[in-house]
Amino acid sequence: MRDATKTSVAPGSADEATAEPAAPAAPVRDAAKPRSLLQDAVRDLVRKPLFLVSSGIILVLVVMAAFPTLFASADPQLCELGRSLQKPSADAWFGYDARGCDVYARTIHGARTSITVGVLATLGSAVIALLLGLISGFYGRWIDAVISRGIDIVMGIPFLVGAIVILNSFRDEDGFRIGGIWGVLTALTVLGWMSMARIMRSTAMQTKQSDYVTAARSLGASTGRLMFRHVLPNALTPLIVLATISLGVIISAEATLSFLGVGIQEPTISWGVMINQSLGRIRESLHPLLFPAGFVSITVLAFIMLGDAVRDALDPKLR
């Protein structure tokens, strides 16, 4: 749609419109129309310092996760006890931790795990929430009752209890816990979709009653088309906002699971693992804790701010 708008200023487009009036996405229709809500939102967003700052931070973090060697040349797995707990210096910007590993290199390399877990778990739970919420809100009746009670049931499980129990079942043949990202990813996805599904359900219910949905239905649109072409795009905003905010929360939750000793473990590096390792020695030195914890906090902050900015831009009521 956006591409269509760009080309709409092309001369002669009016003729095209008269030639094929039935084409639903003919460029000229957009030319006559004022900017769409989405375009308004984008225009709003790029002027907002909150959005620019938060998306800038997120961009840097994503690049860091994709190409850690661009930022840090030191080997994150190279640890020498001789330099244990040395303070930040020109060689190692964030100093060394208790085992003599370079904190800066580890923080940079840890970004990949933490951000991958955050993004994948959020995407996974958003997809579950989208489908269940949409089906439940669109169909209503007994389907809604069943799905809603299901949401209530999973929501009743305390997050950490559920996560620990799930993670405990990730074991190799010898019964040792597997400390990779898959367990954490599963736990965070399985236990993270409920509030998003509730939001999706209620917006789908509201949208379903709009006149344009009734109009499409009376024109003979199929259920699938009604659900995915008419209801979904107009009911998606709150889900997107909530997902953005919960991305930060999930990164923090990953760290918490490492703290409890059930999350990601060495040799995988994540911010949670680093924080957990540094906690035992915080009486002596604070910097091995401060940097990874600071990165977690900044990431959480950036996603919360991004969510706020997107909500402000997409919510027509606040205009």
Binding site: R149, G150, D152, I153, V154, G156, I157, P158, L160, V161, G162, I164, V165, I166, N168, S169, R171, G175, G248, S252, A255, T256, F259, L260, I275, L279, I282, R283, L289, A293, V296, S297, I298, V300, L301, I304, M305
Partner: protein, 308 residues
């Protein structure tokens, strides 16, 4: 009203049964050998294994074991824990007061400070105080709670010596720091919620009307705005009280408070299924009941909402 409550109570049943069953199934699926776990690396005597297996129906299929559990639960019997064979109701009776103490401190802290900060910020939108509240709440939200707990324990407890470091030997005082840490994150959410709600309500027509009628500013904010803007805050507080009373695994672990969260974690680690399910049942009941209380409070705060 009575019928509404009755209907809600009935709706609670499938949720409670579903959640406990889910946890029951998860604990079973965790696999492992709970009897062996009691003995560590030592061999388990055959007779004891047989007795324990029979007592806890370990050989029966899952639905039947859950049926046994539910039958006991209805009669008020939470069962006995695998480790130490204590009645779980006794463990709950020991642990819950501990949790309630921290929860009470956390709740009072987040309610008083959170609402006050939020309301003041909302009334002075865009001013220094508002920005201060926004910034500090964001910071608290962004820091993982275990970092907050550990750092405050080291600095306020160990280094400065203001608070007891851990354990519950010093009465009320030993619950103070854990309570403050536990309440801090919710406090931030409450302050932000109250701020947004107050700021929104200040723009409403009824505020202009009240001003036009010549009401004093304190009456407008104190009665009209406050009552209307507290509805979302009360919802949040209610749900939060429900989860606070369910114990805090992280905070209780850091400060060594033998509450519900501490017991939950221990039960998971030694795969003590009966104890875990018992505590989760308590949690779920508390949570669901609190949700009902919140819904009923709505009607008190907002007369437009009525339950038939």
């Amino acid at each position: 009203m009575g019928r509404y409550v009755a209907r809600r109570l009935l709706q609670m049943l499938p949720v409670i049964i579903g959640t406990t069953f889910l946890v029951f199934a998860l604990v079973t699926a965790m696999g492992g050998d709970p009897v062996q776990n009691l003995y560590g690396e030592r061999p388990v005597p055959e007779g004891i294994r047989a007795a324990l297996t029979a007592q806890y129906h370990l050989d029966d299929p899952l639905p039947i074991r859950y049926g046994y559990y539910l039958a006991g639960l209805v009669q008020g019997d939470f069962g006995t824990s695998l480790s130490g064979s204590r009645p779980i109701s006794e463990m709950i009776a020991d642990a819950w007061p501990e949790t309630l103490r921290i929860a009470g401190i956390a709740f009072a802290f987040e309610m008083v400070i959170g609402v006050a900060a939020g309301v003041m910020a909302g009334m002075r939108r865009g001013k220094f105080l508002d920005n201060l509240v926004l910034l500090s709440t964001l910071t608290v939200i962004a820091i993982p709670i275990f970092v907050l707990g550990q750092v405050s324990q080291i600095f306020l407890g160990v280094k400065a010596g203001i608070f007891p470091v851990s354990g519950t030997n010093e009465g009320f005082y030993s619950y103070l720091l854990p309570g403050l840490v536990l309440g801090s994150v919710s406090l931030a959410y409450i302050a932000r919620l109250a701020r947004a709600s107050v700021a929104e309500n200040l723009r409403m027509d009824y505020v202009r009307t009240a001003k036009a009628k010549g009401l004093s500013p304190s009456r407008i904010t104190g009665i009209h705005v406050l009552r209307n803007s507290l509805i979302p805050v009360v919802t949040y507080l209610g749900a939060d009280l429900g989860s606070l009373m369910g114990g805090a695994i992280v905070t209780e672990r850091i400060f060594n408070i033998p509450g519900v969260g501490y017991n939950l974690f221990k039960a998971i680690q030694i795969e003590d299924g009966p104890a875990l399910v018992g505590f989760v049942t308590l949690l779920v009941v508390v949570y669901v009941v609190m949700a009902l209380v919140v819904d009923l409070l709505y009607a008190v705060l907002d007369p437009r909402i009525r339950y038939a």
